[in-house]
Amino acid sequence: MADMKIGTYICKGCGLGERLDCDNLAMIAEREGKSNIVRQHDYLCSADGVKMIQDDIDNEGVNHVVIAACSRRAKTEAFDFDGCAVSRVNLREGVIWVRPDEEELRETTQEMAADYIRMGCAETRHMNPPHPNENRGHEERVLVVGGGLSGMKAALEAAKAGYPVTLVEKSGRLGGAMADVWKHIPTRPPFDQLVDNPVPALAKEIEAHPNITVYLNAHLTRTSGAPGRFSADISVESGETVTENFGAIIQASGFKPYDLANLPEMGGGRIPDVVDQMGLEKLAIEADGGPIKRPSDGKEVKKVVFVQCAGQRSDQEGHLPYCSGHCCLTSIKQAMYFKDQNPDIETLILFDDLRTPGAPGEDFYRAGQDKEITFRKGKVTEVTADGGSVKVRFKDLILDEEDTEQADLVVLATGMVPNAGVDIEALTKPNVEGESEGDEAGGEENAEGEVSVPVESILNLTYRQGPDVPQLKYGFADSHFICFPYETRRTGIYTTGPVRRPMDAEQAMEDATGAALKAIQAIENAKLGRAAHPRSGDLSFPSFRKEGCTQCKRCTVECPFGAIDEDEQRYPVFNESRCRRCGTCMGACPVRVISFENYSVDTVGQQIKNVDIPDEFDEKPRILVLACENDAYPALDMAAMQGIHYSQWARVIPVRCLGSVNTIWVTDALNSGYDGVILMGCQKGENYQCHFVKGSEMAHYRMSKIDDTLQQLNLEKERVATYEVAITDIERAPKLINDMAKTIDEIGMSPFKF
């Protein structure tokens, strides 16, 4: 990198020229900000303004650009200068739009702007334009774990896009649970005709595809690496282990049917003619279009009762609390097995809510009604053997009365249990308190702190955070985000199908196609060293200064994405392509040796230090606001757009995540005379909104410890406040700042002003 040459460009448009003394700002940028070139422009985002900057880059060697204009969220594309470090100084949404345009307030508004200029210049002096990391992999092969319907589909779709695939299936055949299903639910007209199971055709396609390698009776014994350079040891049928390299991984490890034996009150495991849905599929395959015979004595079934939500949607211990999504459609399909063979067979479906959403779902439901399948809203209380038949006692919820039905066969819709491998959070719980609660998985901790795991791992990852992907809820390895169903916590590894979320076969196939895209995207990102969203395209990555590191392991423990391993000496090993660039490691590091090229303890710390702190008797407090760039910062921008004002004492710095906030910033601010510090992060807890998982939670925890510092400094604890702020808190975010200003008014100025 050539010598640093800073160009600061001050916009006078959008009222900035009228509201602010831009010559004064230019002088500050030059003298205090040490800018080599300072220029003002009436309209900086215009083609002419941008050209002015580009000319300085091309002809004057400017490589650090400070744009003093609007928010970094506005005109982002205009102020994008390749190869330069760019700092945005927010004079519009951050200063003039949040301050009243009154003569007597001009001075403090100008001071606000001046500080932001100092901050922007300080930031850029400690920033470098990021370069892609050296540790990139270029492997294009996709590993698909699980050869059920989801896995088969994912493999085929990735291969069709031109990427080679290895498919690992633990059993001796492809198809998973779906291979044992007789017919498939139609998704287009005619809805009264069941369609062929898609598994055999898919299996044939996979076998014929030159770019798909299949290992049956195989499993992963070890998976290491990162997107673009994963390496997996596959134990194959012969007993040998083959090692292959992969660019990305799709986990389609499927589900197990909920165990019938858990429902003795419904005859599960006790009465041979009470089967689950998979049991009925088996009978249907045996019958192959002929009369379906019941298991106990082979008698042809003349009457069948389907019990929906058996052991599901229940608060009862041991039952499933969720709805498995597919069972209503599946029971209608299975009732059609009987009706299509002999319309006189009585088929009754006892349900609570019949769930057949969408257009094809409702069409199929209607087709079932047309075939005279009976539907009754009822709650089953007991299923007993009664001579040669099975007796179902239930409460009819429409007639509000107890009723019984005698049937030859009863089918319980029991739902699906995800097969997600080891619940790593129950294993280690590397929570913020630093306590280990290793017993939850039922494992035992031995002397080395290793935990024996009762559940078999799917991936056997060598990651410090555990051998499998984190589970979200009820054992499903799903994304936590509604807008981002594939937002994984293990970059480059995507779960799909019923291991991700309960779903029917049709949805699973679509889901698998989406997962294949994400795998391909991870491969393409890894080649270039780019981050996945929310910091899409970011090339920066964390590195550390080994001399200063105390091997405390905070960074490796707290990384929400399992991106950091440890070497033999317990130094961190960063896997850049797993990293999502949140900076949680940087916030965690007690000795401050972790940094990104364009985001570091210094890029923020120096902004804090460069704010002008007036003498105590000037009665001009300073409030440091560290705001999450995804929620709180946009909320403040939008407040500005609405003309909502906030205190002139605030100095706002956007941070990648509250998790990246190193407590040194707060203690330094307090030591250097700031009167208040506010941290604004996302919602934490069960419904956390932090896309970096625990950033906000961690910041809250770390700040709870700041009390000691405050006590040492003899400062009031009200001077530091941490809040959860949503992007919609357009009125509240400014209010929190104003509240702090009021608090300072009451408790007085900080004595630490020098």
Partner: protein, 428 residues
């Protein structure tokens, strides 16, 4: 955003709602050239009008902000707003698409300073708020509107307001002579993501949406709940502006009904359950919610949200298809008539406000579709070989919730990429 040159290796995404944005971004982040067209002045679609998402009760604008950030950062993606597709010809790997670009009357010089809006006096019904509030004749559709560029309502053209707007702009951003343009593009694959619109509540005659002011739709209720919506976040009766505390929700309003939409719109049950939590948020314990339903379709693992709402003593569930609504002339309370079929009780229940959980129908009707694709009876696109390289995403495919829509969009992005990679493979 740089000008991307469209070729037969370009993917066209039609519709800039959550599905279209997701499809476009996923493809662009795989390194593909993508053009995203949106008929409105800004992207975000229906989710930009939602206050919260079920079941997390998080804010849709959070995800929108992330997607906007991805959009701003991606040089492979080119966005065209106020643009519609009028014709599609050709075959996979080589389509000619005709676009119609409507004038915004504001060019890229706009800095979003807001001077034009301050200068203009005329006000119009605000589409963003379903007409529940007003906006200026020069406007930014909402706080997170992207592109962050004002729009001139064509209705002020030729009035003094138009000249005032022009005079107020220091940046020569207002061009009142802008004309509609026709643009032809060559693209290799097309993702169709034009989404859904609320079913016309006026057609459900027995519910009197057109006659009774205190009968509103779920999408209108959503805007009311938003603190930056037309009522400042208060749930107000349109008849008298009083706070509504006894609110009825009618499920399957227009859905699962042979006279209206045959299909189940999937989202309405969860949306209603979510909306009952808005009442708790606003009123604490001082409210009543009544849900009239056929089946509560809180499908898959989010059924736990359903069970949580069920435990709320202020919310009751009545299994009933409401037969009709009348109005108490004095209080203007809507009165719901029907039979609670759990036990067969007839009821005539007055409420402060009635919310119709309105169904979703495809935005572009099959008979107005500019390309040859296969539809089902309900008007959704059915995946079919005959569709060539036109792939449906989100609610063009079926009535889907946001999570499913994004899943669908991600899958459709891969289908488009498969076509593009085939083209690239043969052409290099």
């Amino acid at each position: 955003m740089p000008e991307a040159i469209a070729t037969n290796q370009t993917i066209l995404v039609v519709g800039g709602g959550i599905s279209g944005m997701s499809a476009a971004l996923e493809a662009a982040e795989c390194g593909k050239q993508v053009i995203l067209v949106e008929k409105n002045p800004s992207v975000g679609g229906r989710v930009a009008q939602l206050y919260k998402y079920f079941p997390k009760l998080c804010h849709p604008k959070c995800g929108l902000e992330i997607n906007l950030r991805r959009t701003k950062a991606n040089k492979n993606l080119r966005l065209m707003t106020l643009t519609e597709v009028t014709a599609v010809e050709g075959e996979p790997g080589n389509y000619t698409v005709t676009l119609k670009k409507h004038p915004r009357y504001v060019n890229e010089n706009c800095t979003a300073c807001g001077a034009c809006a301050r200068a203009v006096e005329a006000e119009f019904d605000d589409e963003y708020n379903f007409g529940l509030g007003k906006r200026k004749g020069a406007y930014l559709p909402h706080n997170l509107a992207y592109p962050q560029r004002y729009v001139i309502d064509p209705r002020i053209l030729g009035t003094p307001d138009a000249e005032k707007a022009k005079a107020a702009c220091k940046y020569d951003a207002i061009d009142l002579d802008m004309q509609p343009e026709e643009i032809k593009l060559t693209v290799g694959a097309i993702i169709w993501a034009t989404g859904w619109k609320p079913y016309d509540a006026n057609k459900i005659q027995p519910y009197g949406y057109d006659r009774y002011p205190n009968v509103i739709t779920s999408v209108e209720f959503e805007r009311m709940a938003d603190p930056f919506g037309p009522t400042g976040g208060r749930i107000l009766r349109p008849s008298d502006g009083k706070e509504a505390k006894d609110v009825a929700f009618i499920q399957c309003a227009g859905s699962r009904d042979r006279n209206h939409l045959k299909h189940c719109s999937r989202i309405c049950c969860m949306a209603t359950l979510k909306q009952t939590t808005y009442l708790r948020e606003k009123y604490g314990d001082d409210y009543k919610a009544s849900i009239y339903y056929i089946d509560i379709r809180a499908i898959d693992r989010i059924d736990d949200f359903h069970r949580r709402v069920k435990e709320d003593p202020n919310t009751r569930f009545i299994k009933s298809k409401v037969a009709s609504i009348t109005e108490d002339k004095e209080t203007r309370n809507p009165i719901l008539h029907g039979v609670d079929i759990e036990g067969y009780h007839r009821y005539s229940n007055p409420h402060d406000l009635v919310v119709l959980a309105i169904g979703m129908e495809p935005s572009v009707p099959a008979d107005a579709f500019p390309a040859k694709v296969r539809f089902n009876e309900e008007g959704f696109i059915v995946p079919d070989e005959a569709n060539g390289a036109i792939f449906a995403a989100g609610c063009s495919e079926d009535a889907l919730d946001v999570n499913r829509a994004v899943q669908s969009a991600t899958a459709s992005a891969l289908h488009a990429i498969q076509v593009i990679n085939r083209v690239a493979g043969t052409e290099g």
